[in-house]
């Protein structure tokens, strides 16, 4: 009886592992659909953070502007046009989208993602990018 209980627990654990790895064993078409969804989410996020310009590490000129971030001493700052900033997330998603067609798309996209996170360390903890990383890891698997 004791042995049966142990076997049952082990099987349950195994099933759980199998269940956890379920996406990885999704078909390619489904993976691509998931990628597209992720990239769309990135674009949306990019639009939401459009005004958060400090990610370019050049906050100064927008100081004093509406929705202000770092408020500096420049109280005579020029105003830049509303549409003069695009979030790096948007740029990244556009670039990844464009790279998605080739046979080595996964590797290429992962390189871009790695470079991006390195250049923009503030996005290292971004959940969407983590998901993207996982997805891209599986995308290149046969």
């Amino acid at each position: 009886m004791k042995t049966r209980i142990i076997v049952a627990v082990m099987m349950a654990l195994c099933l759980q592992v199998v269940a956890a790895e379920k996406p990885a064993i999704r078909p390619k078409s489904k993976q691509k659909a998931a990628l597209k969804t992720l990239l769309d989410s990135l674009k949306t996020k990019g639009k939401q953070t459009r005004k958060t310009r400090h990610i370019l590490s050049l906050p100064v000129a927008s100081a004093g502007a509406r929705g202000g971030e770092v408020r500096t001493a420049n109280r005579f700052a020029l105003l830049w046009p509303e549409g003069s900033h695009i979030s790096p997330l948007t740029a990244l998603s556009v670039n990844l989208e464009a790279a998605g067609g080739g046979s080595t798309a996964g590797a290429d996209m992962r390189t871009q993602l790695t470079d991006f996170v390195e250049v923009f360390p503030e996005f290292r903890k971004e959940p969407l990018l983590e998901d993207l990383n996982v997805l891209l890891t599986h995308l290149d698997r046969p």
């Binding site: 502007a65 001493a73 109280r75």
Partner: protein
């Protein structure tokens, strides 16, 4: 040695000394000369020339009929063709002369007997016709001179004389040599004329191989025998020291003599080389005293200099005593009876009417008995007219024209036959000159005969041979005896006094009329020559003029004259038809006559003429007019010559008049010398020396200098000299408190001290003490002052800190003292000087290095500020691998930002519109502490603050000036390689004195440091090409301009906040790390590669690069965005922002206005307001800001300072 041998030796020595003296004298006479320049005028036939003073020369070319102008170095200038319509033929021109007073070139025309006048530019002006007949007729005129008064002197070798004309062409006199003992006129061959400095005329006389000297009234004075073996001299130049130069036109040589005719230089031969001539034609002297020689056949000019320059005097000659000017003519339409001051009286014999033509019209007097009126006069409101027909005098009332009474006819005694002149006399008398019985008859004015006088005859003095005319003369009656050619003087009672003989050298005359001019000269008409003679009180002809001819002022049959009280001379020419010529005749007044009498040692006349003036002097005061000054000079001269004719009071008044006159006319040598002589006579030799010493230097006039040397020598020998010290002036310029520490080493106060005594002073000290801003008087050593000397001393001054408490311009006064010697021998003078102290923030940009006085690195507040900033930076966990100076500079730049310090242009007084005040640009510069407290400043304030912080942190700093702007550059410790990693271009650094400097635009506080850096570097690049960048090395400038210390204060100076500073520093480091930025932008660029026309991306890149100051890339992306969609409001706004960041405010406002035309938003209005504000345009800035507020109040609320400034 025995006595005889000694005597013999002495004799031999004396002989030797004499021989040496003679040799020296002879050798001393030989003067050196040297060739200076030459100029050939090819293709021309230069005929004559004249010097034009400073303007060079003019040469007349006979070939092309032109005037060629040359400068003093013989460089050809303009060439003017003579106007063909003027009728001037160059070939007929014998000589040129220059009238410097009127700026005219005169050309003597031998063919037309005229002088042509050209302007200084060579344009024909007019012709002065000189074609008179009679003695003034020109036969073969050849040489011309003109004096300052325009009088023309024409040497006429054809007639062997020199003829003188006025500028109008009125013939005055002929200059000839005086008759010799045998009554013959010596030979005279004039071949050159020149004016001498004293106004006399020098004429080359080849008959006697000498120079004849004539006075201007035509009197021959003396001759100067000329040394030398010349053959034929022509042309003459007289120098300022009466030296002469002439040309030997046969032997082609140039001669120069001194004033007594001793030959000093001779040179020249025939030939074509230097100093060789073929056909000498003219000579002139330039301003440097060099002789310019014209050679016609060689068409060449050569200039020679002399050891003793011969400066021609030009036309600078003293004015003559007499002058005549033709005014007008008029033609009477009836027989003219009398030319009275009140009008002209004429008679119509047919109508038997008498007409008085006055200024207010014509009046008629008539009586049936009138038949032939021959004389008339006016007095007491009546006209008295003598009628030859009825032998009576008719008296008419002038106002009504009615006949009052008639007298004279039919009486036994006192009958009238042929009255030629009627004169009203004193005591209601009338004097009538009756030519028929040669008597002067006296009537009362109501027609009652009183008496008569005059004896006909020609033996005794009082006998009158022919009573021609009469006039009043010095209170007596002057009766002209035309037959005996003399003037009888009778008193009013008829008693004979004396005769004035008229010994005229020209032979017989026909004297027809006499009158007296206002200055007491007798004026006679000689009908024979004809001419007007002006006689002085001795009967000497002092002036004459008039000629027969066909010109407007020539005469035909002159018959009568009248001189009125205003000096106008009316001459009746009884030609057909008869006419009256009106002249303005000027004769010397009483003072001038006195001057002549003093010169002639004629005390009686001098005193008689000076009488009224001396009486005026005796009143104790007199205005310093020209006439009074002249009178004072003559009175003092007379006092010197005739011994003590002036009382002490008169002398003092004369001195005062002269002193005042000299104050206004310092160049008046006569007045100065007279004053000095008068002072010396009053034993005030030191004052006399001062008067002479104040004489301005005049070339060629050493009279004052000679007298000065004499008086000084007298004073030295007298042993009475003493030192007299005076402070003439103390000029304190505007003092700038910022320079207060500099005024000791570089004194600016000019103290002028004079020793007006004849004894030198010992060395002394000058003290300057302005109590309000100084603790003690500051002393400056003064060297010894020689006698009669003036010295200007630069006075030191040491100011205390109070001087920095004056914030506004304030007037203060100082006590000034000079002290020479010690103890009892001390000589001193003191005075007070007012001066203007500028406010403590004043700076004079003419001495831009003085801005370093404001860089107060040791100010405690500055030290606290920078130490806090640097320690805060060290506490930050920022790992910066930067040059240590760069990191500190960056920290201090951010520290200034962190306390909300901002650039605030002063709209009323920015740096580039500094107030032009007096002789300098006075601007306002804040001390660093003031800028910190006020948290704002313009470019100079921020530059001074930043420089103070940098130097306080030990970073070598320079201030950089560009046109209208100033900013800062600091040195990099590790040189150029220390910033290579930053990806900056090489031209972002500045080399100065072998070190590498980082320029920083301090007005860009609020922007990243790197932007301020790039903008400053761009400014340097822009202006360096034009060499308009200046560097003020603080450490070097401090050697001369000491920093001042502000007094303590109790205002709180802001301290940089650590948190804000840390944030700003991180940002700065990011901005500095361009490579990092490039990596970040890579994600956008990758996208752009696929979508090169994505305007949003292009705009983003333009903005991003612009924000870090990479304007070339920013502009490139902006241009691409523009190309994609040229009418995008966003693009316009970005372009405007980029222009703004590069300080192109005009361009920025253009872009913003374009953007605004597409979309009217608050953001663009705010940008516009900022642009206008930066550009100094307050009104449009306020308008734009108000519009922004209307559109989006919330957005505007983010700009509290703008609200404060623009609302």
């Amino acid at each position: 040695m025995d006595t005889s041998a000694r005597n013999h030796t002495i004799t031999r020595l004396a002989m030797a000394a004499l021989a040496v003296f003679i040799l020296c004298r002879q050798s001393g006479a030989i003067e050196g000369f040297h060739f200076v320049a030459e100029q050939t005028l090819p293709g021309t036939t230069p005929l004559c020339m004249t010097a034009l003073g400073e303007k060079g020369l003019v040469v007349l070319d006979g070939q092309s009929n032109t005037l060629q102008f040359l400068d003093t170095d013989l460089v050809s200038g303009s060439r003017v063709t003579i106007d063909p319509t003027s009728g001037v033929e160059a070939r007929a021109i014998a000589a040129l002369a220059y009238d410097g007073q009127r700026g005219e070139i005169l050309a003597l025309d031998t063919k037309r007997r005229a002088v042509h006048v050209f302007t200084i530019k060579g344009d024909f002006h007019e012709t002065i016709a000189l074609n008179v007949s009679g003695p003034g007729k020109l036969d073969d005129p050849g040489y011309l001179a003109v004096d300052e008064n325009g009088i023309l002197y024409i040497a006429d070798p054809g007639d062997d004389d020199v003829k003188v004309f006025t500028r109008q062409g009125i013939y005055l006199v002929t200059m000839q040599k005086a008759l010799n003992r045998e009554g013959k006129r010596p030979d005279f061959k004039p071949t050159g004329v020149a004016l001498r400095p004293d106004g006399t005329l020098a004429v080359v006389d080849m008959a006697e191989r000498c120079i004849q000297i004539f006075t201007r009234d035509g009197t021959h004075r003396y001759r100067v025998r000329l040394e030398g073996d010349f053959s034929r001299l022509e042309h003459l130049v007289a120098g300022a020291n009466s030296e002469y130069i002439s040309l030997d036109t046969r032997r082609q040589r140039i001669y120069k003599w001194d004033h007594v005719g001793v030959l000093s230089t001779v040179f020249g031969t025939k030939g074509t080389g230097r100093g060789q001539f073929h056909s000498l034609a003219a000579i002139a002297t330039d301003n440097a005293g060099r002789a310019v020689i014209l050679d016609t056949k060689q068409s060449k000019l050569q200039t020679f200099g002399f050891d003793q320059p011969c400066r021609g005097i030009g036309s600078a000659t003293p004015p003559p005593y007499h002058h005549v000017r033709f005014a007008r003519e008029w033609r009477p339409n009836r027989t003219l009876v009398a030319m009275l001051p009140e009008g002209d009286l004429s008679f119509d014999s047919r109508e038997r009417r008498l007409y008085l033509r006055g200024s207010d019209g014509e009046q008629v007097f008539t009586d049936r008995r009138l038949r032939d009126v021959s004389a008339a006069c006016m007095c007491d409101g009546l006209i008295y007219a003598f009628d030859r027909g009825s032998h009576g005098v008719f008296a008419f009332r002038i106002d009504s024209g009615e006949l009052v009474y008639h007298f004279g006819a039919g009486r036994q005694e006192g009958n009238l036959d042929d009255v030629v002149r009627m004169l009203p006399g004193e005591a209601n008398t009338l004097f009538l000159a009756d030519q028929d019985d040669t008597r002067v008859k006296i009537f009362s004015r109501d027609g009652i005969f009183a008496t008569s006088f005059g004896v006909k005859g020609n033996e005794l003095d009082k006998e009158i041979s022919h009573l021609t005319d009469m006039t009043w003369y010095q209170g007596n009656l002057a009766v002209l005896d035309g037959a005996r050619e003399l003037v009888h003087i009778f008193d009013t009672g008829g008693r004979f006094l004396r005769n004035i003989p008229l010994p005229l050298p020209e032979g017989s005359v026909d004297l027809a009329a006499i009158d007296t001019d206002p200055n007491g000269f007798l004026v006679l008409l000689d009908r024979k020559r004809p001419r007007i003679l002006v006689l002085d009180h001795d009967g000497e002809v002092s002036y004459q003029f008039g000629s027969r001819g066909k010109r407007v002022f020539d005469w035909s049959r002159p018959t009568g004259l009248a001189v009125h009280d205003d000096g106008t001379l009316n001459l009746l020419d009884d030609a057909k038809p008869s006419r009256v010529l009106v002249y303005a005749l000027e004769t010397p007044g009483a003072v001038s006559q006195a001057a002549i009498a003093v010169d002639r040692d004629d005390r009686r006349t001098a005193m008689a003429r000076l009488g009224p003036f001396l009486a005026a002097l005796g009143t104790g005061s007199m205005d310093p007019t020209r006439e009074n000054a002249r009178g004072a000079v003559v009175a003092i001269k007379a006092d010197q010559k005739f011994r003590n004719i002036l009382s002490n009071l008169q002398r003092e008044v004369a001195q005062t008049v002269l002193g005042q006159w000299l104050h206004a006319h310092p160049g008046s040598v006569e007045a100065r010398m007279a004053l000095a002589q008068s002072l010396r006579k009053a034993k005030q030799v030191e004052e006399a020396v001062l008067v002479l010493q104040a004489a301005p230097q005049r070339q060629g006039d050493s009279r004052c200098a000679v007298l000065l040397a004499r008086y000084k020598s007298e004073l030295d020998n007298s042993g009475r000299a003493q030192s007299i010290v005076t402070i003439d002036s103390c000029d304190v310029p505007r003092l700038l408190p910022a320079l207060s520490q500099t005024y000791f080493d570089q004194p600016v106060i000019a103290l002028t001290v004079s020793n007006t005594g004849g004894r030198p002073t010992p060395p002394g000290v000058a003290t300057f003490f302005a109590k309000a801003v100084m603790d003690n008087p500051t002393e400056t050593p003064v060297p010894a002052l020689p006698p009669f000397s003036t010295q200007t001393i630069a006075c030191r001054a040491t100011f205390n800190r109070n001087i920095l408490t004056y914030v506004e311009t304030t007037r203060l006064s100082a006590h000034v003292q000079v002290k020479f010697g010690k103890g009892r021998n001390v000589v001193m003078a003191e005075s007070h000087a007012g001066f203007e102290l500028q406010g403590r923030n004043s700076i004079d940009w003419n001495q831009e290095d003085m801005v370093t006085c404001f860089v107060t690195t040791k100010d405690p507040d500055i030290q606290v500020f920078l130490r806090r900033a640097l320690s805060a930076a060290e506490e930050q966990t920022i790992q910066a691998d930067l040059d240590p100076y760069l990191y500190k500079a960056l920290t201090l730049f951010d520290a200034m930002q962190s306390i909300d310090l901002y650039y605030m242009p002063d709209p009323t007084q920015p740096f580039n519109y500094s107030r032009l005040s007096g002789d300098g640009l006075i601007d306002y510069v804040q001390y660093p502490r003031e800028t910190l407290v006020r948290q704002s400043g313009d470019c100079d304030d921020l530059a001074v603050l930043y420089a103070s912080l940098l130097e306080g942190a030990g970073i070598p700093t320079v201030l950089v000036t560009s046109p209208g702007h100033i900013f800062v550059a600091f040195m990099l410790k590790n040189g150029r390689q220390s910033v290579d990693a930053l990806g900056l271009k090489q031209d972002h650094l500045v080399e100065y004195n072998g070190n590498v400097y980082v320029p920083v635009e301090t007005t860009l506080l609020g922007n990243p440091f790197v932007t301020a850096w790039r903008v400053a570097a761009d400014t340097i690049l822009k202006h360096r090409a034009n060499d308009k960048i200046g560097f003020i090395d603080l450490r070097e400038a401090w050697q001369h301009y000491k920093t001042v210390s502000l007094p303590p204060h109790d205002q709180e100076v802001p301290i940089p906040a650590r948190s804000v500073l840390g944030l700003l520093l991180r940002r700065e480091l990011d901005a500095l790390n361009l490579k990092q930025i490039e990596k970040r932008l890579a994600v956008y660029k990758r996208w752009l590669e696929r979508e090169p026309d994505n305007q949003s991306l292009l705009i983003l890149l333009a903005r991003s690069y612009g924000e870090v100051g990479v304007f070339d890339l920013a502009q490139e992306y902006a241009d691409r965005a523009m190309a994609v969609s040229p009418t995008n409001q966003t693009v316009y706004q970005v372009l405007g922002n980029l222009a703004f960041m590069q300080n192109d405010y005009a361009g920025a406002s253009d872009w913003f206005l374009k953007a605004d035309a597409i979309s009217h938003t608050a953001a663009i209005q705010i940008n516009l307001a900022l642009t206008y504000l930066k550009d100094g345009k307050l009104v449009p800035a306020r308008k734009a800001f108000a519009e922004a507020k209307r559109l989006d109040p919330a957005l505007v609320s983010g700009y509290p300072e703008l609200i404060q400034l623009l609302e």
